[in-house]
């Protein structure tokens, strides 16, 4: 029984926890808007992205975003994307929907058993189950989805089928019944960048030491070493100069629902600041013990606070610290200080020179810092809707047949002008035109003798000729209803 209880604990703790994605490698002018009420701000490496974050690139900029399930999204030049749905249900199931509003994106990832992983462009979406590498383009007016590796399920308002490696679909969101399938993907200049980043991330050896977490791993390979510790098992030691301490190179930013959250300037500063704990050992210096929790933390530190100053330092593994006790790792040399104002959304230690000699004489330990003021007007903030539709997935109807050859009922569509994004040789194979087959007409039910809400259905015998429809009696006589756009609920007729 105890074994069962121990097994349940991590599941219980992780179920329903908020998810955060990491801004990783980037180049050029990249901006982030974490929620509608926020201003656009320059992206920072290791910035946590929450659900509904928007990300855009300007000019030739590009950026990589790592998701907690190991998936990666990369935005190319002049692009805008949203982390439309990024949730973990109480069942533990992760739901991810990434919407590309315009520009170019690459996606690499795979959905674990019960997870849902969807990428949307204007007019269509793809669902990833097994591993797939995708390239997505949202142009005006065309949307293009290419599968460079693996398989993805393509869905549009008129069709649904598997796209396999080497196939590209081009569609016009304004005319969803008409789209083009090519069996050769024209290369783009940015493809190589994405391929190389995939190789770097996939070759990480740190994953073996951090089970259950799929992001920020490659940086641990590059910027530190794994060593065995008698107390903590495999621990990671950064390549850092003497006198270095964790939670010093970066700043805190306020996140609703998370509190002040550490955004590290250390290039590897993702996993070691949001999972596990730090320890200072004689001879080894600072080491990071990953721990077993897969719950994202803002940065586990002790806080010291006075009227205009705050200080913080790492908490030790398994330490259950509560003020006013002195934390195990507390030393003035281990503590980083910054100026503090209660209304500030950021706490930045850079340039702070007034380090107190006797901090405990003027400051007290506190568990956490209070929330900055939250103006209610933030809740009224509004964003324009995305072309990709945000969290609204497109519906799918039957009637489309796809066997790789043109539908004989379809009227051939002229190939549109070559897209400007295709910079290399045009594809050799002619496009296959797929047009939605007309769905079979189903008689509209005009008279239901049982209220529909009950779920009771009427099954007629073969060859049955129904008597002429009668207006069912009503509990109370209503006025004749106007012709509704939506079928009105049935009337009770018992």
């Amino acid at each position: 029984m105890k074994r069962l209880a121990l097994w349940l604990l991590p599941m219980t703790l992780s179920a329903g926890q908020a998810r955060y994605a990491r801004v990783g490698d980037f180049d050029g002018a990249v901006q982030v808007q974490l929620q509608a009420a926020d201003d656009w701000q320059p992206a920072r490496r290791n910035l946590p992205l929450r659900e509904l974050s928007w990300l855009r690139t300007e000019g030739a900029a590009r950026v990589e975003v790592e998701l907690d399930d190991g998936s990666v999204v990369r935005l190319g030049p002049d692009s805008l994307a949203e982390l439309s749905d990024y949730t973990r249900l109480s069942s533990g199931q992760r739901i991810t929907l990434i919407s590309l509003d315009h520009g170019l994106a690459y996606f690499t990832g795979a959905a674990e058993d019960k997870d849902t992983l969807v990428v949307a462009v204007p007019g269509a979406q793809v669902t990833i189950r097994q591993g797939a590498h995708l390239r997505l383009e949202a142009r005006d007016p065309w949307s293009l989805i290419a599968v460079t590796d693996g398989v993805a399920r393509f869905s549009s308002p008129t069709a649904e089928f598997d796209l396999t490696a080497g196939q590209i679909v081009k569609l016009d969101p304004e005319h969803p019944a008409r789209f083009f399938l090519n069996r050769e993907i024209p290369p783009l200049e940015t493809d190589r960048w994405s391929d190389e980043r995939d190789k770097v991330l996939l070759s990480s050896t740190s994953a073996a030491h951090v089970p259950g977490l799929g992001y920020g791993l490659a940086d641990l390979d590059a910027y530190g070493v794994w060593v065995q510790s008698g107390d903590f098992g495999a621990v990671w030691k950064p390549k850092a100069p003497a006198g270095w301490a964790p939670f010093r190179n970066g700043k805190w930013r306020w996140y609703d629902g998370l509190g002040y959250t550490w955004i590290s300037d250390d290039p590897w500063g993702w996993l070691p600041y949001h999972y596990g704990r730090w320890m200072q050992q004689e001879g080894a210096g600072w080491i990071w013990a990953p721990g077993e929790s897969a719950v994202f933390k803002p940065g586990e530190v002790y806080w010291l606070r006075s009227a205009k100053l705050v200080g913080w330092g790492a908490l030790a593994p398994a330490e259950h610290w509560k003020p006013p006790d002195t934390p195990r790792l507390y030393l003035n040399a281990n503590t980083t200080y910054a100026s503090y104002a209660p209304e500030s959304l950021e706490i930045d230690p850079a340039g702070f020179a007034a380090r107190p000699r006797e901090p405990l004489a003027t400051a007290v330990f506190v568990q956490a810092l209070p929330s900055p003021p939250f103006p209610a007007a933030r809740l009224d903030a509004f964003r324009p809707p995305l072309r990709a539709g945000g969290t609204q997935a497109v519906s799918v109807s039957t009637g489309t047949a796809f066997d790789g050859s043109p539908d004989p009922r379809a009227e051939a569509q002229p190939d549109p002008a070559p897209d400007a994004a295709y910079t290399n040789e045009p594809p050799a194979a002619p496009p296959v035109v797929i047009v939605q087959a007309p769905p079979e007409e189903v008689p509209v039910e005009v008279y239901v003798p049982v209220p529909v809400y009950t779920g009771i259905i009427v099954v007629y015998p073969p060859g049955y000729k129904a008597p002429a429809p009668k207006i069912p009696p009503k509990a109370v006589s209503p006025p004749p209803p106007p012709k509704p756009k939506v079928p009105a609920p049935d009337k009770p007729v018992k």
């Binding site: 199931q93 003798p449 809400y453 779920g455 073969p462 009105a488 609920p489 007729v493």
Partner: protein, 363 residues
């Protein structure tokens, strides 16, 4: 170690607390009162609600009933949807026209179909959160986790429409290969059933959908007897679910009732469809089902029986052992139309004797 051991157990205990309240069987008389019975169908009490009752459901915590009943605010149509607080016995008007209230199992939302779409209410504050565009007339059934709302419609075409309660949108429409269809939750899947759409007598079809991927899977055909037999009249079919099986029954006591046209045929009974094997068997052969609901553990089935051949005929409430098909308890009800719901209600809120609901409230 004690901390590790007790925390999950505590959470599980909290989750199970609602189910620990006693099972109460609610029978709502169309004439305007709701009768409360214990699990053995022993009468506990009743609450009068003044107006004609169309339907009743209960909130997961058992503190509220959602009642659709005749209302002046429905502008002549049937009906208005009300919330009845079992502690104060005050009724709050929610919306009109509406014929039913479907509470989400997590207790957060209440759904109903109104004039322009599916309305979502905050089940705690009773405020309307939004209205989802809904292109059908629905049998609405929220997913066990509360995130999704499944709507089965046969008009204008048979489909399963999946609404995302988080974004308040129609997330997915799954057109059904055949119709008409009816649906029910069984365990963690939603099942859809069609009978004999290809004209083959005795052939039923099952499909299932998991809420996490919204993909329609065919579960194949189900061998049933020829449900029409020698009676050339429409058959009403209803479906209910338990964790491991489905219940299919012909419905009686409605405007269409084959007993009137074919009085000499042996009609009635409930088919059980074992989901792991597809095995079909028939229980309670002489019971004429008007409504039915299975308990959460799937051991018992409560049935509202229409004993007479007209909708004004005799009615009774039955408790049936699913494993054996035996009728364990029966209680006679006044002749007339009734509706059925199961609830877990805190003992202090179960009415003792005949009470009456107040007609207004402040939220």
């Amino acid at each position: 170690m004690r901390t590790f051991f007790t925390l999950p157990m505590l959470l599980l205990a909290v989750a199970a607390a609602r189910a620990e309240d006693p099972l109460v069987v609610l029978a709502a008389a169309r004439t305007g009162h709701i009768e409360f019975f214990d699990a053995n169908l022993f009468p506990l009490g009743a609450i009068g609600v003044n107006q004609l009752v169309e339907s009743v459901t209960a909130s997961p915590d058992g503190r509220r009933l959602y009642i659709a009943q005749e209302s002046q605010r429905a502008s002549g149509a049937c009906c208005g949807l009300f919330s009845l607080d079992l502690e104060t016995l005050k009724m709050c008007f929610l919306t009109a026209p509406a014929l039913f209230g479907a509470p989400s199992p997590d207790g957060n939302f209440l759904f109903t179909q109104g004039e322009v779409g599916v309305d979502i209410f905050n089940a705690r504050t009773l405020s309307r959160l939004s209205t989802m565009k809904a292109p059908g007339a629905y049998n609405l059934q929220p997913s066990p986790g509360g995130r999704w709302l499944f709507g089965v419609t046969n008009s204008p075409k048979p489909s399963l429409d999946i609404f995302d309660t988080k974004s308040a949108t129609l997330a997915r429409r799954l057109p059904m290969p055949a119709g008409p269809v009816t649906g029910a939750w069984a365990g963690d899947r939603f099942y859809l059933f069609n009978y004999s759409s290809d004209g083959s007598p005795g052939k039923g079809w099952l499909w299932s959908v998991r809420p996490e991927n919204g993909e329609l899977l065919s579960d194949g055909s189900i061998g049933l007897p020829d449900l029409h037999g020698a009676c050339n009249e429409p058959v009403l079919l209803m479906l209910a679910g338990a964790p491991d099986r489905l219940f299919l029954a012909e419905a009686f006591g409605f405007k269409v009732d084959r007993r009137r046209a074919c009085p000499d045929l042996p009609l009635g009974g409930i088919y059980t469809i074992q989901l792991s094997t597809g095995q079909v068997s028939k229980i309670a052969e002489s019971v004429h089902v008007n409504r039915m609901a299975a308990t959460q553990d799937g051991r018992e089935l409560y049935v509202l029986q229409s004993a007479g051949r007209s909708r004004k005929g005799d009615a009774s409430l039955l408790r049936i052992d699913i494993a054996t098909g035996r009728v364990l308890n029966t209680v006679a009800l006044e002749p007339g139309d009734w509706n059925l719901a199961l609830a877990h209600i805190p003992p202090a809120l179960i009415p003792r004797g005949n009470l009456h609901a107040a007609t207004s409230c402040s939220r």
